[in-house]
């Protein structure tokens, strides 16, 4: 009995994110009531499902795909054709709430077909096949205009379809709640899939395909089923995308879409269930907001991605998690100050780097580099030496302190402590 209670306690502990996150998700649109923000939130939902499905491949099975948008996009097209048929039938047929299922079915179908020859090998061969397939499907999207609607794409109307719950889906907020519901369903299913024999063996095949063979599993079939399920969820995300956007065109199957999901998933952290959730939300948000504030957003994006790959391959969630474990294990004891110092000096360095980049963009891209412009609240002139000197100085001092002073300090402190502990 005692163990049972303990287990129950653990379950309750593990359950709280599943309650808190949806609660926040439902409250959010009442806090930010602009249509654009709600749309952005809906897009995050779609991106989250897509990224979670992607991580079923990359994180769980170790399959790096450069063409996952194929399943997202084909799911979206099939769902869109269905929506248009519903529109044409005067708003009768499948209820709009179930439309994503059509996308999921399409994703599943194409996953079955394309997966059959993609997953025979993992690693680089798989990556290259998905790259080639992605290009092929994207190219054919402009050739087969009957199905793909050419480069103009296809339109449909979500409010001209029957609703299961009698909701009017014209306002973005109602759509948002539908997205939250589907995101939650998909997230729970994907989470549960990780707990099944297939989910376990996917991890096993990722780590050691040979060993998996010697316990009876065919790695190709494990990859294949995992791939098909992943494609199915990608299609579901695509179907949901149709409802939020009401337009589908060739870009949903394109390379940029495939790249974005890879970026988001990796930035969040492929080793964690919530990694893709965090990453997809962040990337969707940055993509729509950063570009409104700076020309250099693609560069920032690239730099963020590279830094994650180089310094934190477990992603943002990984950073937080390791620090948390470290803190819990008492690793912060006596050196919290040093850690804070490293963090602050790192932020100073980043601040300086942003100044340098913004100065460069003004200097090289502006029609009049000499025109005064506002940098971090201060009016400066990019043709003068001073702002450059200051920015470079801040960058160098920030990163210099972090790398040459803070880090060694922390290392010394830790090793001194552990030596002391042993002695």
């Amino acid at each position: 009995m005692a163990t049972n209670t303990a287990a129950g306690g653990i379950n309750a502990l593990k359950l709280w994110p599943w309650l808190i996150v949806p609660f926040i998700a439902i409250v959010l649109p009442f806090v930010f009531d602009s249509g654009h923000t709600i749309n952005l939130l809906s897009h995050m939902g779609v991106a989250i499902i897509f990224a979670l499905s992607y991580n079923m491949l990359l994180g769980n099975t170790g399959l790096l795909s450069f063409g996952h948008a194929v399943y997202f996009g084909l799911g979206a097209f099939v769902a869109m054709h269905l929506l248009r048929a519903i529109n044409d039938a005067g708003g009768t047929g499948l209820p709009i709430e179930l439309l994503p299922l059509a996308g999921a079915a399409a994703g599943l179908g194409f996953g079955v077909i394309f997966g059959s020859f993609s997953v025979r090998r993992a690693g680089v061969v798989f990556a290259m096949i998905t790259l080639g397939l992605g290009e092929l499907v994207h190219s054919s999207s402009l050739m087969f205009t009957d199905f793909f609607g050419g480069e103009a794409g296809l339109f449909g109307y979500r409010d001209e379809a029957p609703s299961l719950l009698g909701v009017d889906y014209a306002p973005s907020r109602n759509v948002y709640f539908l997205v939250v519901a589907w995101t939650l369903i998909a997230a729970i299913l994907i989470y549960l899939l990780r707990k099944t024999p297939l989910g376990w063996m996917a991890n096993a095949v990722r780590d050691n395909p040979e060993r998996a063979q010697f316990v009876g599993y065919n790695p190709t079939i494990v990859r294949y089923i995992q791939f098909v399920l992943s494609a199915c969820f990608a299609g579901l995300a695509g179907g949901l995308f149709v409802i939020t956007n009401e337009i589908v065109n060739d870009e949903v199957v394109g390379q940029l879409q495939s790249g974005a999901v890879l970026l988001g998933t990796f930035i969040g952290g492929i080793g964690y269930f919530i990694g893709p959730v965090v990453g997809a939300s962040l990337v969707t948000f940055l993509e729509s907001s950063l570009s409104a504030h700076t020309e250099a957003w693609v560069l920032y994006f690239g730099l963020l991605f590279i830094s994650i790959v180089m310094f934190a391959p477990m992603g943002l969630v990984g950073i937080v998690h390791t620090q948390y474990l470290n803190w819990k294990a008492g690793g912060w004891k006596g050196n919290t100050g040093i850690r804070l110092y490293i963090l602050v000096s790192g932020l100073v360095g980043i601040f300086g780097l942003i100044c340098v980049i913004e100065l460069s963009y003004h200097y090289f891209r502006s029609w009049d580099p000499g025109a005064p412009f506002i940098l971090m609240g201060i009016s400066t002139n990019a043709t003068h030496l001073l702002p450059w000197l200051v920015s470079f100085a801040i960058t160098i001092i920030g990163f210099g302190l972090m790398l040459l002073h803070g880090n060694p300090l922390l290392k010394r402190h830790i090793s001194a402590n552990s030596d002391g502990g042993k002695a």
Binding site: F266, V309, M310
Partner: protein
């Protein structure tokens, strides 16, 4: 038809040699380090831009030599301070690193040189007509491209076959795990090979930037094709890269030069130009040509993952 074939072969070879300049570097890097360098085409782009900028002061001929060296130096820096760090995490992060690097290089190029194509041109003397074939003029520059490619292939071959460094690289290509056993400084060898591969791509850029257009989009467009060449030729095989470059060059040129579709050749058979098979039936060869490399890529990987000349699978 003879005209078309002769033309396809000649122009295909020309295009193929350009592909070879880029892919030979990539195949060396992959064969040795196992890194499928997504940013390889970015180094090709840097070659073109460096040559353009250097050429403004030093003239084309000096830039032809200096630009690849500069690109090689960049490559060395990237390997030393970027890839080597990521190497410990495995091949997927390496791939992702170069994937991100490609974005960053493109942005930086657009920042420094602008989004407009730069007026990078061959010296006037090379724009004169060298010969005329079937009423089409060929400039000295095209002859020059062929020449550079031949020199490069011979140079590479000599380097790999006749020098000690080449022996080490060859050994590494067939058994990457054994290089350490040869008693060589493996990280240094890696850096040098990466730099050398990048320099080769840079050389491709110096020439390709003139033949095509030097703009920040050039890497994005060339990138996937280079992969196709490397995979088709067999990862790590330089002769394979040459053959694959030529095959793709000639095949693509041929598809573009002929007027062919199933409907025109066999007859429409009352098949309408709609629906999946209908569209395919009426599809003209010219519209398929650009997709052809990717079709080859997928088919190669399915049926012969080791490529034409490769000894081991990817």
């Amino acid at each position: 038809m003879l005209e078309t074939i002769a033309y396809s072969i000649f122009n295909g070879v020309l295009y193929g040699t350009l592909l070879f300049m880029m892919s030979s570097g990539l195949t060396l890097i992959f064969g040795m380090m196992g890194v499928l360098n997504f940013a390889h085409a970015s180094f090709y782009m840097l070659g073109a831009y460096f040559a353009y900028t250097l050429g403004l002061t030093t003239g084309f001929w000096l830039a032809l030599i200096l630009a690849p060296i500069a690109v090689g130096a960049m490559g060395a820096l990237v390997e030393r301070y970027g890839l080597r760090r990521v190497h410990q995490y495995g091949h997927v992060p390496e791939l992702l690193f170069t994937f991100g690097l490609a974005y960053v290089i493109e942005e930086l190029v657009a920042l420094f040189w602008g989004t407009v194509p730069v007026p990078y041109k061959a010296p006037a003397v090379m724009n004169t007509t060298a010969f005329t074939m079937f009423d089409l003029d060929y400039s000295w520059f095209k002859v020059f491209i062929l020449l550079v490619a031949v020199v490069m292939f011979v140079g590479l071959w000599l380097l790999l076959m006749k020098t000690r460094a080449g022996q080490v690289i060859q050994a590494a290509l067939s058994r990457p795990d054994m290089v350490g056993a040869l008693g060589h400084n493996v990280p240094l060898v890696f850096t040098l090979v990466f730099a050398f591969g990048c320099a080769l791509a840079g050389l491709g850029g110096v020439v390709g930037g003139i033949q095509f257009v030097t703009d920040p989009g050039m890497a994005f467009m060339m990138g996937p094709i280079v992969f196709v060449v490397v995979v088709l030729g067999g990862l790590g095989s330089v002769p394979g890269a040459l053959v694959a470059s030529l095959i793709i060059g000639i095949l693509q040129t041929f598809f573009l030069s002929i007027n062919f579709s199933l409907a025109e050749t066999i007859g429409t058979l009352n098949i309408e130009d709609s629906g999946f098979f209908g569209v395919l039936w009426h599809m003209e060869a010219t519209r398929i040509a650009p997709v052809l490399p990717f079709l080859l890529l997928v088919l190669t990987l399915i049926f012969r993952p080791r490529g034409i000349f490769g000894k081991r699978e990817a």
